[in-house]
């Protein structure tokens, strides 16, 4: 009976593995600090920032841009606590966040969506408020079929929710939601799968999906049709900036990245992610 037979090789391997891991993690952290940017925050901005980051990496060999997700509130908190170099938020900064600086890289709108087969063509702001606060619970009260309305709301901490509430001057506590969802596509899928549902999502995603055969319908808001075009022209009332957030005036690599993300060089990326690029 040799010693090697007594101990399964896996144990030996794992010990070796753990040691080597410890070594490489220590060695790495010091020299990557200067050439690495960490971005965290809004899941709406994350895919856009990741694509911008990839192009930035190509232009600056040796630089790494790591994009993490988790929601706008997380982006704000991480930027404040220095857990990230740059935070991402898909809304304006609030008054109590004026210790931070924000840099808009693109614009997006939020629109109300219903199922494709829903005969309703438009809803007034008052009707939308009444539906979300539970005063209207049946489609027949707004001129639709006799069916109960399924109200789809966004989860706490999502900036889509905060913008929606702010625009309609509601409190989250007033909302009588039947379904609470997280990301945009989840909202679209929830509405597409329920004839009686109503929800609100990012216009870019909704327009793309409606054009590609997903069963949803975008409702106009305040008489303005919900489209990227109308967000671009500034006519659509419920629009929001997509922001990068920093605790102090950006310097070095962060400054270069923010300038790059706001430049013409990324307009095609912004459009590919169904957002509206900044005007020149």
């Amino acid at each position: 009976m040799s010693f090697r037979m007594l101990f399964p090789q896996s144990m030996l391997w794992s010990v070796v593995a753990v040691f080597s891991l410890a070594c490489c993690s220590c060695g790495q952290s010091s020299d990557t600090a200067r050439s690495q940017l960490v971005l965290t925050g809004s899941s709406t901005v994350a895919p856009l920032a990741a694509e911008i980051g990839k192009r930035f990496e190509k232009l600056h060999p040796g630089v790494r841009v790591d994009v993490q997700t988790g929601g706008s509130s997380r982006g704000i908190a991480d930027a404040r606590r220095d857990l990230a170099d740059i935070g991402m938020a898909s809304r304006d900064l609030k008054p109590n966040e004026n210790d931070l600086l924000s840099f808009t890289i693109a614009r997006d709108g939020i629109c109300v969506i219903v199922h494709q087969e829903n005969p309703i063509a438009s809803l007034t702001d008052q009707q939308i408020i009444a539906i979300y606060t539970g005063d209207i619970e049946n489609w027949k009260d707004v001129g639709g079929p006799d069916a109960e309305i399924t109200v789809v709301n966004k989860a706490e901490g999502r900036s889509t929710l905060e913008l929606f509430l702010h625009y309609f001057k509601m409190e989250n506590a007033d909302i009588q939601a039947d379904v609470v969802i997280g990301d945009n596509e989840q909202g679209i899928k929830t509405v597409a799968g329920n004839v009686n549902a109503i929800g609100y999502v990012s216009i870019g995603a909704a327009e793309y999906d409606a054009a590609h055969g997903v069963g949803i319908k975008l409702l106009p808001l305040g008489g303005v049709a919900a489209s990227i075009e109308n967000v671009r022209s500034g006519e659509f009332p419920l629009a929001r900036p997509l922001n990068l957030v920093m605790k102090s005036e950006p310097q070095g690599l962060a400054k270069e990245f923010i300038e790059f993300a706001r430049s013409r060089d990324v307009h095609d990326i912004v459009e590919e992610q169904y957002f509206v690029p900044l005007a020149d």
Binding site: F7, P47, D66, T69, D183, N184
Partner: protein
């Protein structure tokens, strides 16, 4: 008159006995039907899911898809770096949890009696741990591994967080494996003058292999399926990882992002799901094969 009555009562008696025989069989028939239909429903659901994923995903799978890096938020390109990250996260998770898990299982089954207070306490806490929602592990992993230990968003943080999640499953299954070894083995080994350590390594460990395999299969399944815990620990970066200190997106996170956050990402989400299922089947096969080969055969050759 009397005769007629007797015939009638006989007929009634005959009727009731016939009835009773049907009634007495009924529960058995129902039970059989229920068992069969339950089995059919379970298999049906599995086949349905699999067929759905294969139908939507098979068209997008190609060698380029398996090796190329994702482009345009994953709508185009492939999942090469994501497969590598997934396998690395799983490797870290298993390298940490298997030795710890088997060790704890040995302690629980061989060195403590089932009734002892310590054993009961450890077992109870493991059961509670197994029921903790994965998002809690994610937040714990983020606070401890990423921030407190300074590992940041990295494959290492993700793998370590997953090993915390997998340990309870692994330990309980392995412990069952040890407990199912007949006590005669231990007695005979003691009678032959074998030491406790060599009894354990030469006899009990190989005999407990089926339990270890069950634990591995369940643990790998849970680790590969995990999304919530990994978003906060191993992260969202879809670059090819250069070391274990890099952030790496796992397949489950990629599927979640493509289907819930990226408009037009469904096709690649299905294809990635199909790849995930294939990896799951492959790693399970490899795990059982290696466990059998390294541990299981020794009991025959010894």
């Amino acid at each position: 008159m009397v005769k007629e009555k007797a015939v009638k009562s006989q007929a009634v008696q005959f009727k009731t006995s016939e009835k009773r025989s049907i009634w007495s069989h009924l529960p058995e028939i129902i039970a059989t039907c229920a068992a069969w239909s339950a089995a059919l429903v379970v298999t049906g659901v599995f086949v349905w899911i699999l067929a759905d994923v294969v139908r939507h995903g098979i068209g997008a799978i190609s060698w380029t898809f398996l090796t190329a890096a994702p482009r345009n938020a994953g709508r185009e390109g492939g999942i090469g770096p994501i497969i590598v990250s997934t396998i690395l996260i799983l490797a870290v998770c298993m390298a940490v949890s298997v030795p710890l898990g088997v060790g704890t299982a040995v302690l629980l089954s061989e060195y403590t009696s089932p009734a002892s207070r310590f054993g009961r306490f450890v077992r109870r806490s493991l059961d509670v741990l197994a029921g903790v929602p994965s998002i809690v592990f994610g937040l714990f992993g983020n606070a401890v591994f990423c921030i407190y230990l300074g590992l940041g968003f990295s494959i290492l943080s993700g793998g370590l967080t997953l090993s915390c999640m997998v340990l309870p499953i692994l330990i309980r299954a392995t412990e069952e494996g040890f407990r199912s070894v007949p006590n005669d083995y231990r007695m005979s080994a003691a009678a032959l003058g074998m030491s406790r350590t060599s009894t354990l390594l030469q006899l009990l460990l190989p005999a407990a292999v089926p339990g270890v395999i069950v634990g591995l299969v369940l643990g790998i399944g849970r680790a590969l399926a995990e999304t919530a815990a990994l978003i906060f620990t191993s992260g969202y970066v879809d670059r090819m990882p250069g070391s274990l200190a890099d952030s790496g997106r796992s397949l489950s996170v990629h599927i979640f992002d493509l289907s819930m956050n990226v408009a037009g990402g469904d096709r690649h989400a299905y294809a990635s799901a199909l790849v995930l299922i294939m990896i799951l089947v492959a790693t399970n096969a490899i795990a059982s094969w290696t466990a059998n080969r390294w541990l299981g055969k020794r009991i025959l050759t010894a």
